[in-house]
Symmetry: C2
Subunit: 210 residues, 2 copies
Amino acid sequence: MNHKTVSLADQVFERLESDILLGKYPRGQYLTELALVEDLGVSRTPIREALRRLEQEHIIEVSTRGILVLGVTSEDLADIYAMRLEVEPMVAARAATAATEEELSELREMLELQRYYVGRHDSDRIKYMDSCFHELLYRASHSTVFFDTLLPLHKKVQKYRKASVENESRADKSLSEHSEILSAIEKRDPAAASAAMRAHVQNAKNHIVK
Amino acid sequence: MNHKTVSLADQVFERLESDILLGKYPRGQYLTELALVEDLGVSRTPIREALRRLEQEHIIEVSTRGILVLGVTSEDLADIYAMRLEVEPMVAARAATAATEEELSELREMLELQRYYVGRHDSDRIKYMDSCFHELLYRASHSTVFFDTLLPLHKKVQKYRKASVENESRADKSLSEHSEILSAIEKRDPAAASAAMRAHVQNAKNHIVK
DNA sequence: TTTCTGATGATTGTATACAATTATACACAA
DNA sequence: TTGTGTATAATTGTATACAATCATCAGAAA
């Protein structure tokens, strides 16, 4: 397992990113470093370093008045899906040629877990497995550019994906779409992987973007 | 003009980002915070905040041994162009419907400057005007998602664009391609803007990626 | 009442001291 | 020579004190 120690700054970043992207802090709210110091029990230094990263991801905006929560708007959501629709197929195609056997095995395992939780209607886990599947795919493309671009975009839509995975028929469909993507990658067929991914993102988009 | 005061952390970020992306620090070199303190004459605090942002952009990597310079590899370069080839046309199309008259006027002005410097064979200025034109376009799409995604990618290719703008025929061609893109946007024709941009990125890619 | 001005408080920006971890060099033994 | 252990130095991680800026509110003048 990965026993690498995680700095306080990293922990603060992940906590704040998750809280904001899940909507715990609404867009427009102001936070202050001092309030975060009290809430999180760490000094300003790691908090400020986390804030710089969130600022870089355009999730917050810092001014002299405080920390403005930006989050993800529905316009952002539409743009993210427009972009993923073009780029994720490229990633799938790349993964079809670049993925190692170990990565394929991880993807298979992730798909099995997703199948299990879809059967149990555990929507939180379904959402988590979905995230992991896509992240593994980004990694399997062996392209830092694709990974660095797509991972933040995928994280930003998590709040909106919640309703989607709670819909049983969509959860079933999504599972079979993942399965089709993985099959194409296992066959080392970039064109098929690309097409399957494109269909998957298009369906997800139709289901989520209003 | 924009008289907004820029923090030391911002200045350090821009300086380091520029130095690394222009190749002043080669990939694989280790820096230390202390050395940067002496070089830049500021304390570790703003330096560390800048480093967190560079880390987020995957330009450096920090370990206990020091700050590892990653920069942009030729594999990154190919992936960036593959991605820009799909996404920039969407941005151009969006700008064709979303750009304000003021933004169009800024784009026209930028194009005139580029024309001027192409005439004078001033490659540094040509490169700068080229960057500005694309950045204005990202902004004119009125999409933070497109802007935040494409601007870092465009910045990352600047080192490789240098040779390109020094080639006279390519500089001429690039200028006329920009002009065609802007014309389509002025006519509020998204499809034409998209096609013109696609051709432009494809040509740039052919010229730069080996 | 409205508007301006000044003081005060709140908030972020920066520097520095200290802690903790880890790489490195050196001595010493096998 | 090679390996090993230990001490030392180098480096990042964190906390905190202080500086600077800006928003806010009270109060006075028009």
